[in-house]
Structure formats: C-alpha cells, structure tokens
Symmetry: C2
Subunit: 619 residues, 2 copies
Amino acid sequence: MVWALVDAPADPALVPDLKQDLLMTYQPPVRDHVFLLRDVLDIDQHGQLPAFADASFDLVEQILEGAAKFTGEVLAPLNGVGDKHGCVWNPDNSVTTPPGFKDAYKQLCDGGWTGLGSDPAYGGQGLPFVVGLAFSEMSSSANMAFSMYPGLAHGAYSAIHYGGSDVQKDTYLPKMVSGEWTGTMNLTEPHCGTDLGLLRTKAVPNGDGTYKISGQKIWISAGEHDMADNIVHLVLARIEGAPAGVKGISLFIVPKFLPKADGSVGERNTGVQCVGLEEKMGIHGNATCVMQYDDAQGWLIGEENSGLKLMFVMMNEARLGVGLQGVAQAEAAYQAAAAFAKDRLQGRSLTGPKNPDGPADPIIVHPDVRRMLLESKALIEGGRAFLFWTALHGDLAHGHPDEAVRAKAEDYMGLMTPVLKGYLTDKGFKVCSDAMQVHGGSGFTEHFPASQYLRDVRIALIYEGTNGIQALDLVGRKLAAKGGRAVMSFFQELDQFVGENDGDEALKPFIEALAAVKAQLQDGTMWLMQNGLQNPDNAGAASTDYMHLFGLTGLAYMWALMAKAANAKIAAGDSDPFYGAKLVTGRYFIERVLPDAGAHLAKLKTGSATLMALPAEAF
Amino acid sequence: MVWALVDAPADPALVPDLKQDLLMTYQPPVRDHVFLLRDVLDIDQHGQLPAFADASFDLVEQILEGAAKFTGEVLAPLNGVGDKHGCVWNPDNSVTTPPGFKDAYKQLCDGGWTGLGSDPAYGGQGLPFVVGLAFSEMSSSANMAFSMYPGLAHGAYSAIHYGGSDVQKDTYLPKMVSGEWTGTMNLTEPHCGTDLGLLRTKAVPNGDGTYKISGQKIWISAGEHDMADNIVHLVLARIEGAPAGVKGISLFIVPKFLPKADGSVGERNTGVQCVGLEEKMGIHGNATCVMQYDDAQGWLIGEENSGLKLMFVMMNEARLGVGLQGVAQAEAAYQAAAAFAKDRLQGRSLTGPKNPDGPADPIIVHPDVRRMLLESKALIEGGRAFLFWTALHGDLAHGHPDEAVRAKAEDYMGLMTPVLKGYLTDKGFKVCSDAMQVHGGSGFTEHFPASQYLRDVRIALIYEGTNGIQALDLVGRKLAAKGGRAVMSFFQELDQFVGENDGDEALKPFIEALAAVKAQLQDGTMWLMQNGLQNPDNAGAASTDYMHLFGLTGLAYMWALMAKAANAKIAAGDSDPFYGAKLVTGRYFIERVLPDAGAHLAKLKTGSATLMALPAEAF
C-alpha cells in the first residue's frame, strides 16, 4: 500500500521562483565530523584499541570524504524518489523498491560500506564503531528509508555474531557483511508491540534441529525487497510448551531462501511470505511488511527461551541508530531551511535594509528565523557530539585493555542509549518542524523537501520502543542497575571536568552552565530515588521529563567539551571561522535551550497524584 | 496534483485487531461548550446585545446539539475520504472535490449553517460570534479540509460587508450567506507571501468602473471546486501607476461567473482559471489552487490603494479561525488517542494489574500515557476557553451600548488574535503529535486517523501569517498600540480577579499560579519596553517566547475562571463528575504546563546579541 503521485497538473514550472538548487541541499557535514573525531574526541589517542590500530585519524578522514561522496551523490538524489514512488507490493508477494534503489544498493556493497565496523573474521573492515556511526549519519541524512535496509541487516548480523553457533556464523555472516544478504527483526504482532510477553507466533520442533515457525508479524522494516539475494529474518517465537510471558520466547533464523551447504542460495523457504505493505506517513522508500509465517523452516539461535536477551543485542544497537536518525534528519532538514532562509527575499531587517539593492532582504536577517536555525544547529551539533562520544565508549567497552575502563564504558552505553534514542528523536522532530516553519508555505508543499523530512523523522519517536518506553527504561532499569553505578560515574566525571576547568576564563559560561544543570539532574535523580521506589507511578510520571533533563545535561557537557576544543584551536592561532561559529552556537545552547532544564525539574517533582486522579472514563 | 491511494495490498483485514470503532471517534464536545457558554461566560447576562437578544442559552444549546449532529454524522465520516482521495484537477481547469463533499456541502447550506453569524439584512441568522465559533470548532474537528470552503467564504463575506458598495453587498452577500456562492482570499504570489509590498498582479482600468486583472496567485485555498454555483475571488492587485510597496495595493472582486442584474449567475469570467493544485502534506480534501488571472474582469472594493486595510478585515477573522483549527484538530486527535489508550492492552500497571482477567492492562494505566493525554486535555480545554472568551469580546466590541466596554473589547481582540493564532496552533501541533505517540506504531500507519490530524494541523502554524509573524505582530504592533492600553487593561483585569478571589481557599492554587505567571508576563513586557525600542532586533529575538508566555498567562486565567465556575457548581451540590475532572485537569495545567513560563521568560531576556552574531554564511 503506497501513496504515489498519480497526477501532476501543478507543474513546478508554474511556480517560477522555485529554484532547483533549493530542493537538494544536503551536504554531508564532514567538517563537523573532523572536529569531533580529531579535536574533541582525539581518536588517535586510542591506538592501543584493536579497532583503532589501523584507523589513524588521517585514514578516517579519507573514509569520511569517501562516505560524503557516496551518500551525497548516490543516496541523496534518491530520497525524494523513494518518497514519491514508495515500495510496491506485487501479487506474487514480492516487493519492488523505488527506481534507483537497487543500483544504489549494489554501489553500497561494492564500496564496502556494509561492513565498515564488522568483524574481519567474516570479511568486515573492523573499523571503530564511532567511524561506522559517522557513515550511518550521512547515509541516514541522505536517505533514511534507504539506509534502513543495511541498518537492519547490521542489527541481525550483530545478534547472530553474538548468539549464533559457529555453523550459523559461518553460513550467514560473510553474506551479511558483504551485503549480498540483508536481515530483519521480527518482533511485533498485531496485538503485541511493547509487551512482547503476549506474542503468539509458535515454533514446533521438526526433530532434526529445525523448527516450523507459524504466526503473523507486522511492521517488519525491509521485510521483503528486490535488492539482495536473500533476507535473513530473525523471528521471536514461542516453542510449543514454553513458559508464558517473556520467559518463553526464543529467537529463530528464518531465511527467505534456505542456504545450501556451499553457502549459496538454495530453495525458497515458502512458509515465509510478505503478504502486504503498510501504508504510512513517511519512510515510503522502506518496505514496512506484514510477514506471514506458515510452517516456515527456522533454526534456533542460542538457548531455548533466551530470545529476548538476544533480541536486545539488536535492539540496543538499533536504539542508538534511531537516536542517530533523529540527528541525521534534523541535519538534512536544517540544511534545507538554512539554504531557503539565505535565498528567500521577504521583508526588511528590523534594523534597516541589509540587501538595499534587492527588492527585500533574505529572511535570515530576521531574529526569529535565526532563532529557529540556531536552535536547530545547537541541538544537532550537541546531539551529534553526544552520539559520537557514546559510540567511542562502545569502542572502549569492546576493546580497552583495562577492565575498569571497559566496565565504565559498558555502564555508559546502557545509561545513555535510552537518552540518546528518546531525547535526540524528540528534538530531531522539533528541528524538522522548525525547518518546515522557516520555509513558510513552501514547506507544506511537497515541492520542497521539508515535508518529507518531517514525515520521515516522526517514526523515530516510535519504533524500537516508543520514547515513553525509553524514559521508563532509563528511570526503571538503567538508573538503578548495579546500585546506580553508571549515573554516579557520570556525575563524578562532570564534577571532575568542572573542577579541572574552574579557572578557565574563556570557558567560564560553559562550566557554570554545566555545573548548574548537573545539580538539577542530581536533584531530579534524588527525587526519583526517594519517591520512585515508594510509588512506582511517581517514577513513571517523572520519566519523560527526567529523560529530557538528562539529555540537556549530556548536551551541556558536550558543548563544554566542544567549546574547550574550539578555544584551544583559536588560542593556537587557527583562524578557521568554524571555531568562532561553534562558540556562538554553544552560547545559544546555554542561553536559550538550557533554561528548559528548570521546567523539566519542576514538572518531574510534581509526582503522580494529579496524573492518576482521573478515572479512565473521564478521558 | 494529489496523493492518492493507488494500491492496497495490506488490507486492514490483515490486521485482525484493528477495530473499526477506533477509526472514527470524534464526538463534538457539547458538554464542554455548554460549560463555557453557560457556567463560565454566562451568555444570558448579555441579553442587551442585539446578537444575544434572540439567543438565550437554551436556544444556543439546541443549536449546539444540531451542530454536533451535523458535524459528527455528516462531516466526520468524510474526513478520511478527503485525505485519501484528495481533490482532482481536470484538464478543463475544473476541480473535483472528494466523494461526498458536494452532497455534504448541500446539507451544510440547507441546514442554514453557512449564515449563523451573518447579517440578517442579507439573510443571515445574526447569532453571536461566540456561537458561530462553537459551530466552527466542531466543523473543523470533524473535517478541517471541508470546513475551509465555508470558512474562506465567510472571510470574503466579511470584507465585502465591511468595505463593499451597496450594489456589491446586494449582489454578493445574500448568495454568500446562503452558501450558494463561496469566496476566496488571493494574496500570495510565488515571490511574495509575508511581504505583500512585493506583489505584482496588476489591474488596468477599463474606463467603465471595471478593471482587467492579470497575474498569478498561489496557495489559494478553495480557489476552484464543484460545490457552489459561483466563487467570489477577492484579489489583491496593483492599479497601473499606483505607488510601490503596500501603499499601492487595492482589493478587487473577481467572480468566477459574472453576476447578472437579477443576481443570478451569468457568463464565465474566462480570465480567471485554476491552472493547477498544490501537492501538499495535508488538508488533501481542500483544493489549494494556483490561480491564473489574464485580463480577468474585476471590480474595485472600497478606495484605490486601500486594499491592505480591507484584506486585514478578512485576515484578522481568519487568524482567529486558524487558532481555532489548532484546538479543533487537537480535540479530534486527543479523542482518538484517548479511545486507543482505553482499548489497547499492553503491559501491566507499575502498581499491579488493573485488568487482572485480561492478557494485559489498557495502556491508559501508565502515568506517561496519562501525561500526554492530560497535557492535551489541559491545552485543549484552556485553549477553547481562551477562544470563546475572546470571541465574546468580539460580540461586545460590535454590540455593547457602552463605548468604554466596546473600546476595551476591541483592544482585546487586537491583542489576543496573534496569541490565539500562534500559541494555540503551536500547541495544537504538539497535541496531535502526542496523540500519534499514544497510538505507538499504529499512529504512524494511515489505517488510524492520527497521521491525518498531524499532517492537517501542520499548515495552521504557517498560513494567515506564520507563527513568527504573529509573534512580531504582538510585540511590534499590538503591545505598543494606543500607548500599550490593551495590555494594561489585561493586567488590570488579572489583578482585579486575583484581588477579588484572594480569600477563596478552594481556588487558591489557581489564584497563586495566575498571580505568578502574570508577574512573569509583566516582567517580560517591561523587558521588551526597555530593550525592544533601543534595538528592534531584541524585540524580534524575544517575540516567540513572549507570545508563548502570553499564551500561558491567558490559559492560566481561563483555568482560574473555569475552576471558579466548577467550584461553584460543586458547592451548589451538582454531582456531575465533569466538574471534578475539570479541576484535576486545571491542576495538571498548573503543575505541568505552567513551569514553561519561567523558561520562556529566561530565554526572551537573553536578547539578540547571540542570535545576530553569526554571519549568514555560517549557517
């Protein structure tokens, strides 16, 4: 089911001032990636980690340039095409992707982009996680719907890599790393989304180590398409006789085509079929499938009834990837808005003409337009830094020789993942909406890209666990885990940074702001500890505001780190105006984003009494 | 150009748990309208006003019941139809509206709904503005795209009623009041939206009192359709030789068919044609037209070069109507979300099962789901009250015998219009987004109505002047008008209310909250006076945050008025649980919405320095 353009009487040519160069603006932000990886995170200091041993900054910079070229030139031009054409479901249960997608996917594989961060044992390049993330951001900005195909494949790769047998790994991983085969996650059923304990899809043992899988799965992204030779479905199901609830769920590999012994594609696993596509608000270029399993052949991954744990290997990776989508769509939408604001002549500056020879000034002269653009810039650059910083901890967690460093990094990954997913997608949606607003009426038309960015990014607040679920995961699990060790470490790190930079006059506003918001977050954390245990509804009631307060604190830290790095460059005589702009953007964050922290703190401390007072029928 | 459903493999029947009764939930909120008109605004006390003389509350209640029946049963079922089918432009330049629209429009006219508030001299019913607004809200909730056709006709009616000659009034108004003819506003040209001074459409005198109009207008809502016998275009154009800029703009009537002397429809005004429809994100059921004028016959309304003043008669009415759309779409989306949250079983309450015999609890048990619903309810009910309260001032401004009352009411209309338009549509969009969030993945699919509400409401933040323009109008014109008389009156009224209710224990939290936010608004106003004059960029930089602070103050006043009315009912022994729910919702507003006021105040006081520091090329 697909929205398609069936009639086009209002030819863009009828709108004489519509400029083609405003319609495709996305330029991968390599300059900001370089700043983060070189000046802020200084990845060259991590040469002792295996992933970084062969990944000097200089090499990484070359990779970024190549990624920018591929995503900007191959993927970005197909973004609008995917939105307008959508995917088409055919009566033989096959799915045709939008024009150009298949060829672009081939280029993605040929360029080795599918295996950037994957295990060299299976043909991957073994590059740092943070480098893979940089590519993923560009790919998602250029074409979110397209980049979900390899994105989900990588999630499935990770689950098999983590939990699969040697035979399973040897069979599937090389093909998934090369991109010849893609993968999916099959969790949701019509009656069960968040609450996986309700799932009904069943698995009956065949006696030969294989299972017959039967049931219906919905909202399966990339569940069927025409770009790869095979699709490796990872399916949650309940083995006959398994315990009820989440303790009775197992994970199965259900390939579209059964692999032959030599690793090539064999006969069709006819029991798995895509029976329809979902009609949806955005990401039209990605096939959101209804998957029907009727005695499909499947193989258990890992132990019986341990499916949920394995699925969370995929899920945690996916959640970080969704937070990234929030920033990625925001970046693309912001670029379109900034280009429009510099081009569109309308009205005069409040302080006198800035383009006196023209019929009007470009709208970027207006403070309120700048407010939207600068807020976007502050959220995007802060959010990107937070993602990269966390991803670097992912690298530390996997490869650092010191166990204490690994443990702290692991703690951070757990703690930050729901914050990145929830906060950055909420803000990504805001940025995309502001980008439409900067466009005025043009933004609401489908001639300009703003509508697609807004429609596409909206799913990021929902899938892989709604943002409300992220907030609950944060306050209900991640804060309390290991006696609160993760959040304590984070507070300690912030205190240490504030202490170390106390006398730095150039950094003073950033340090003061960070110290203040850290105190607010600590206050909110104490409130949760005191009130959330005695009444869990208080924790639920506070969760979203707490998550936002956490996100603000994270970004305040990132802005302090970035300001410090920018100051150092300026002090060393670097005259690139990039650094001055960075400091202005950071100041905007402090002045005009951070005041929300106080509101979130006040709200979360009101507790659950009012929320729970109304009976359901009063809504 | 239209998005249409061309393929439907994913039959909703494939999703077994999709319940039809969740897909059409909108029930006109007559109970809340009754509360506002009877208990809060007490319209029966205004019997001395002409409009109210024949409009006792009892009669008004009957009208509301009839309006609820018509909008709920006739318009609401066509809302999804309009979205999916859209309008179709035909090669003969005609436009076909979605299936069912034409018949529904006939029922609208037959029921007399097009002339509720119109002048009895031209066949209208002369009912109070506030009663017309109640109908408009229901109509817009039920079907925003449909209700724009009569909505724009009413705006054109008002401009002709205000500025037309007797002949023009006699020719056009009776047909527009009956709904036989509709109307449009033609302002925007491709290169000129906000900045009307740039417009190029020209008018050449024919020497016989008529003009030849030539030019292109875009984004003309309801510019062409098949539901009425004639369409009365009001067109801004520049008479040859007129001064440049906004001082050289005149307003013309350009009917699709030239009226005959007997008032019937004559020959086609062939110089006006719809040459295409805009493809857009939402309101697909409304025809957004590219209108081409080539020597079309037109008649000047009012004086030469006084077009802008006349257009603002329409515009101010339209802006209030757009603020109303924010609340109306929010109401419909909220109802859909509340119905979903009571039906969807997923997970268990954090404090133990609430539906122990079922497989899971309905998601409305979760505090974070309730947070979204209660925030929506607080914003909708507060926003509706603010609209109705302002509309009543519209009635006072037109009909009150005391000149001082009329003047104050007129001041309020001017001051509140940008706040209602900007604040209520910003919040309407938030509510529609939260309604999608409550739906989870279902909300992103087009099976459920959440996507349409979100896509439709988005235009309300843009058209009739973007919300940024509203904020500038507020700080740049409305605050300063007549030496700040309007805002002073408002502060005085708030102080008086606070003083009069100081000892009312039951009302205490509402009074304290109102006094606090009023002080914050006054602080922000002072800051603007001191800093906005010396540097207009400071006013521009503060404008949106100031508008939100104003909106919050307005809603705090409304919640205090509503709480007082609810307390009085409860004290009088009325046991309707409606009043208790009203007080809980008001408490939510104070605890969890009002804290934003401090953040807005802090932000607006930061001034424009950071905003203006970056050169354009740094964006």
